[in-house]
Amino acid sequence: MVPPGLRGVLPVVLACLALAAGQRLFGGQEFFVYVASLVGVNVVLAVSLNVVNGMTGQFSIGHAGFMAVGAYAAGRLSLPLGDVAVSGLPVAASDQLLFAVSLLAGGVAAAACGFVVGLPSLRLKGDYLAIVTLGFGEIVRVIIQNTPALGGALGLSGIPQRGSLFAVWLCAFLAVLVARRIAESSHGRSLTAIREDEVAAEAMGVNTTAYKVRAFVVSAFFAGVAGGLFAHFVPIINPGSFTFVKSMEVVVMVVAGGLGSTTGSILAAVVLTLLPEALRSGFNRFAGEGAGAVVDQVRMPVYGLLLVVLMLARPQGLFGTRELWDRRKGQGARP
């Protein structure tokens, strides 16, 4: 039995230990680390988008915009920090500390944007909100393109490559933990209530607008962190990496996993990141060099069809709103 005071932090401690072990075992394998990092970033993105799209039922299709804000804020901050160290610390520790600060800055910057985008949701619903988020994503891109300090169209390169398996997956773990704990608190219940019936939620004393904005803030924060992570393991970020297509990839993950299910989002993020990668190498190996190109050609159309088929055949997605850790509901379902 765990003492109640420790229940909050224990999983984080355990995760840190496990991840540190993972880092020792696999940290040297560049390609594995790269793919694992990509998966981790997508998990953070999907889980965070699920907070808005799944749990709260507000449809945001501009998640790449928040990711871009985070990536650029963190990257821009890290750029001049590549050659400095905090005194009294070993270089590696200092690097990781500065990295954490950059990530946090990215998250906060994105969260601020989340607040700004969340505000129109006070007045807008459904389709309109979706368009505003889309517009936001486009505006962010245009701004970056026109800002020389952010590298314009060329992008930012030379960001110190401080990302590691440990950092990425710790963030993924934290995002999942936060999503789960929010879901199991009165806040999460209020968010779900908004999704299910906004009028009734309001009538039950839920300040729907404030909750919606806060859902956007949390979601944007983690998207920003994901962007920050991304910026620290890819050598160059440019506006082309954060287009509407990227937003849609995340939407597909959330929808396929089941709107409202964190478990589903994680699973879909992992599968939809690894599958093209695996198919591509498989095609290359067995159908000759270059055959893997087919995978990239059909990926987007297949995603589109996947959305349509899912909505028609299984609108609740892979997991519906269920969670892996949801024991109570399972009991209730049995008569």
Partner: protein
């Protein structure tokens, strides 16, 4: 070099203070796990593996395909001529879908999994930049066939290219416009989404003004736009006698049509992004009489060029190679020559051999790699006439 972290940030991170990193502890690269250079040479085999990264899918797929064809032709010829010290050359290709992060990923795979000796690629500068970071860290030489952005080879001493750089291309057009066409007043319409375009704009503006011309105004569009009338109308006000459009052929054709429609009677000028058959289809008669700078002209009497063209045509059913294929062919040949000269197949030795490339007789002109690892070579200016680009002039550095 290393600098001091601002005190404000230090306070924010609740730490006593900051200091310079000890150079002894972390030399050039950050202290995170470093890419390991390919360690001991693999058991002696009779194959030398090279890596190639290109966009084989996506909007720039034709770039990647042309490049691949050029490289393949060069390696076939090299192998036919006995390979490198009796070893055959092979190339492993990865597709990056035109995305920088995928390009970096591909470079990492080539370096760590396939243990290639040298990397060829990419076309787009953004992607080359992403790869250059990885190649430099692993001390694997990289030769870009056609990335013209200045920043690419600045990534480090293992990064080379066989094409001229944007500053030269912008200069060449400025010189041609000013001295040959005697233009006074040139406006610029740049593609804001492309670093290539904004880079060329900067150089052209500077150089053209230096030569006594006047830049009448700069307007921008975004790649993929179809309506450029607003920008052109704004430019028209300045009554330019030339418009420099350093963009891609997909947009340039339309711009030419709309300029004609708006009654703009200026000569259109451009860069190597114009190079495509599609330019004539999209632009129709509106692009006739325009000029653009390029890496080579198939009309060039240079024997190396003609030899390449006939070999390429023989292999691809009479298709005339574009400049990307020619540059890729040169890149591969420069690499092969360096491998033959190199003392060993270790990164540093290959690098040194590459750096000594001098007066290399390439398909796209004679080239010398300078101390900044960029190719010094002339640019050609092509004129569009009746749906064909013909040689107009050559501009030497």
């Amino acid at each position: 070099m290393r600098s001091l972290l601002p005190a404000l940030l230090a306070a924010a991170s609740l730490l006593a203070g900051c200091e310079k990193k000890q150079p002894a502890q972390a030399p050039a690269a950050p202290a995170t796990p470093e890419l390991k250079a390919p360690a001991a040479p693999p058991p002696a085999s009779d194959v030398i593996l090279l890596g190639e990264v290109g966009s084989l899918t996506g909007a720039e797929a034709t770039f990647g395909q042309s490049t691949h064809e050029g490289i393949q032709l060069a390696l076939e010829q090299a192998n036919a001529a006995g390979g490198v010290n009796g070893k055959k050359l092979e190339v492993r290709v990865y597709d990056d879908q035109g995305k920088p992060e995928e390009a970096a990923n591909a470079a990492v795979r080539l370096i760590n999994q396939d243990k290639v000796k040298l990397i060829l690629g990419e076309v787009a500068s953004t992607n080359s930049l992403a790869m250059a970071d990885k190649a430099q860290a692993a001390k694997v030489p990289m030769v870009s066939p056609s990335s013209t952005n200045e920043a690419v080879t600045q990534k480090g001493d293992y990064i080379f290219r066989v094409c001229f750089i944007d500053p030269f291309q912008g200069y060449a057009m400025a010189k041609f416009a000013r001295e040959t066409l005697k233009l006074q007043n040139v406006a610029v319409l740049q593609d804001n989404k492309s670093a290539y375009s904004t880079g060329l704009t900067g150089v052209f503006q500077l150089r053209f003004a230096e030569m006594g011309g006047k830049v009448a105004g700069v307007e921008s569009y975004s790649k993929g736009d179809t309506d450029f009338r607003a920008q052109l109308t704004a430019l028209k006000k300045a009554k330019p006698d030339g418009i420099y459009i350093p963009g891609y052929y997909t947009d340039v054709g339309l711009i030419a049509r709309q300029a004609q429609e708006l009654g703009l009677k200026a000569v259109l000028l451009g860069g190597d992004g114009w190079e495509s058959e599609k330019l004539f289809e999209l632009g129709g008669s509106a692009v006739d009489g325009s000029y653009y700078t390029n890496h080579y002209s198939p009309d060039s009497p240079n024997p190396a060029t003609q030899a390449f063209i006939s070999a390429y045509k023989a292999k691809h059913n009479g298709k005339v190679p574009d400049s990307l294929a020619a540059l890729a062919y040169d890149a591969a040949n420069v690499a092969v020559a360096a491998l033959r000269k190199s003392k060993s197949l270790e990164g540093p030795d290959i690098r040194d051999a590459l750096a000594q490339t001098k007066d290399f007789d390439g398909a796209a002109g004679k080239l010398t790699l300078d101390e900044k690892r960029n190719a010094t070579k002339p640019a050609v200016v092509l004129k569009v006439e009746n749906g064909k680009a013909v040689f107009a002039a050559s501009v030497s550095p």
